[in-house]
Subunit: 342 residues, 2 copies
Amino acid sequence: MVLDERKYMILKAIIDDYIITAMPVGSRTVSRKKGVGFSPATIRNEMSDLEELGYLAQPHTSAGRVPSDKAYRLYVDSLLNSEELTVEEKKRIEDYIARRSGQVEDVIRAAADILADATQYTSVVVAPRIQSLRIKRVQMVPVDENTALMIVVTSAGIIKDALISIPPDMSSENLYSISEMLTRELKDHTLSEVRQIFARVFRDMSMNRRLLGGVMKVMEEKLVEDAPEDIVIGGTTKLLNYPEYSDIEKAKNFLTLFENKDRLAGMLKRAGGMEITIRIGRENEIEALQNCSLVTATYRVGNNASGTLGVIGPTRMNYRRVVSMMEYMGEVISKMLSGGNE
Amino acid sequence: MVLDERKYMILKAIIDDYIITAMPVGSRTVSRKKGVGFSPATIRNEMSDLEELGYLAQPHTSAGRVPSDKAYRLYVDSLLNSEELTVEEKKRIEDYIARRSGQVEDVIRAAADILADATQYTSVVVAPRIQSLRIKRVQMVPVDENTALMIVVTSAGIIKDALISIPPDMSSENLYSISEMLTRELKDHTLSEVRQIFARVFRDMSMNRRLLGGVMKVMEEKLVEDAPEDIVIGGTTKLLNYPEYSDIEKAKNFLTLFENKDRLAGMLKRAGGMEITIRIGRENEIEALQNCSLVTATYRVGNNASGTLGVIGPTRMNYRRVVSMMEYMGEVISKMLSGGNE
DNA sequence: CGTTAGCACTCACTTAGGTCGAGTGCTAAT
DNA sequence: ATTAGCACTCGACCTAAGTGAGTGCTAACG
C-alpha cells in the first residue's frame, strides 16, 4: 500500500518532530507546522489511518503518536538524498584524520573518535580484514635470546606484530637473512595464500624448519584465521545523554554490549558489503540494540580488503546527517589507507 | 580520641553489614549479630556517640546509620591483616596472566581484566613508565619508500613502536646497519639518557643527520616525555551493578571519567610510589570519584620502572579482599614483566 | 552505674484518591 | 472533504493517610 501525498507529509512531519523532541507528537503540533494547512481534526483522521497501517504507535491512549520502525524505514528509504556536509565539516574531518601517521590503528581510532564527536552517537570502527591484503615485507627483530618480534608489512601499512620464539643459537644476522628470504617468497601474495606457499617452500628448507613452522603458525593464528577482530569504539557514553537511555537497566545492557567486541564485530560484518546499511530497531539481531538504529558504511583498502564504520544511536537518530557523514568518512578513510603506497 | 573496645566492635559490625547490604544499619540489626551481647537500646547509645565522633551518619532522622569516610579509614587502617587468597584463586590469577606472551601490553590488559573480574569492581592498570627502562636493542624496519617502523626493545619487552620517515634513497641494508649502530650506542642506557647520548654521537655522524634527528625526535616525543599514558581499563560497567550508581547522572559522570585517560593516569600516578594506597571517598581529588574508593598498588619492572594497578569501587567496598588481591597481583605482574630477560 | 525495657516521635515510603491537561475518536455542521 | 465541538481516556502530578523501621529519652532494673 502506497501512502498518498498528504499522509506522507504528515508522517514526515511527525518523524521530524520526534527526532528532535523524543516526545509523542500530537495532532495540534503537526497542524501548527508551517506547510501543513489542515486542522488538528483532519490530522487526527490521517494519523489514525497511519496507525492502522503500522507507521505510528501510541504509547497510551491519550498520548500523541510515535513513529514505528516501519516509519523510519520508509523515511530512510525515501528522504535520503543525503544532505551535503558543510565545507568546514569536511575540512575538520580531513584534518583530524590526516594528522595521523597513516598507521592503520591510529586512523581507525581517529575515525571512531571523530564519528562519535560529529554525530553525538556511539561509533564503532572495524579494522580492515587483512587476509586479502598483499604482503610487502616480513621482518623479524630479536627481542631476547628466545624471542623475536615478527612484523608483517602490507600495502595498508603495518599489521599488528606478533612475538615468536626462536632457537637460542640463532644470530641476529641469521634472523635478518631469513627475514629477507621470507619477504622474497611472500611478497605480493595475500595473507590467505601463505599456507600454500609455505607448503611449497618448506621442502627445500629443512634447516630452519622449527623457526619457519613457528612463523607460519603465528601467521595463521593471528593474521589469517578470524582473529579477535580489531575493533574500536568511540563515544561509548554518548547515548546516555538521550532520554531513551535514562533507564539504568537499558543503559547497562547497552554498555555491556561493548565489552564483548566479538559479538559487535560479527554484527557489523554481517552488515558489511553494502556501501551503506541501515538497521532500524527490531531489524537488529542483537537484543540490546533493538531500540537503536545502526548505520554502517564500508571503506576499502586497496582493491581487496575492506573494513566497516558504524554509528549506533536511538531509532529517532538524524539519519540524514549520519549517512552523509559516513559516506564522507568512508571516502576519506579509504583514500587515507589505500593512498600513497599501493 | 581512641574508641573503646565496644564502640569499635559495633562500628565494625555496622561497616561489615553495610558493605554487604548498602542499606543504613539500625540498632536492632547490630544487636542481633552474634558476638554482640547487647540490646538495641545500648547499641543506640553507642551509635549516638559514634555519630558525634564522626564515624557514622544518618541519611535522615529515622533511618539507620551509614559509615562515614572516616569510619572506613579507621576500618582500613586497622582491620587489614589482609585475608589470604585461596590457593585456587591464586592459581587462577597466575594461569590467566601467564598465558600471555609476556608482551607488556598483553599483560597489562590481562591484569585489568582479571582484576575487574575477581573484584567485581572497575579496574585500571597503568603501563610501566618507560623512561627508566634500559634499552636492549633499536631496530628500524622499512615499511615503504618513505617510512620505516622503529622498534625499541627494552628489558621489559617491546616498547610501542613508532613510524618515522626516512630519506627516499635509503636502502634496506643501510637502515639495518644504522639500526645496529644505534643499538650499539644506546644499549644498556635508559631512555631518559637518550638525549645526551645523541648530542655526543651526533657530532661524528653528519651523514645521516636527518634520519637520526628523526629518530631522536620520535624517541623524545613518544618515549621519553610524558606521552599519553598507556592505560587500560577493565570492567567499566561493573559499578553500574551497585545501587549507589543507580542514578543515571552519577553513572554518566563516572563513565565519562574513563574517556579522559590522561586525568585518570594523573590521579593514579599521584598515588604511586607506595606499595598500597587507599583513597576513601572525599580523599579523592577527582570529583566524580568522591563517593568511590580507589585502591592502588605499585608493581615493578626490573629495578627502575614501575606501573600502577588500581581498583575503583564504592566506598563500602570489600577492602580486605581487594587489598589482598592487589598485593598478589602486583607480585605476579612484577615477576612476569621483570622475569626471564633481566 | 551500666544496661535495658518502654514509649513517643520522626520520616521515608507506599497507596489511594483527586485534579489537570494533552490528546484522542466520534459526530454533526459547514 | 473538512472542521468545530465535545465527551472521553489516561498519564503526570499533587495531597493525605497509613505503615514501619528506626531513633532519643526516660525510668526501672540487677
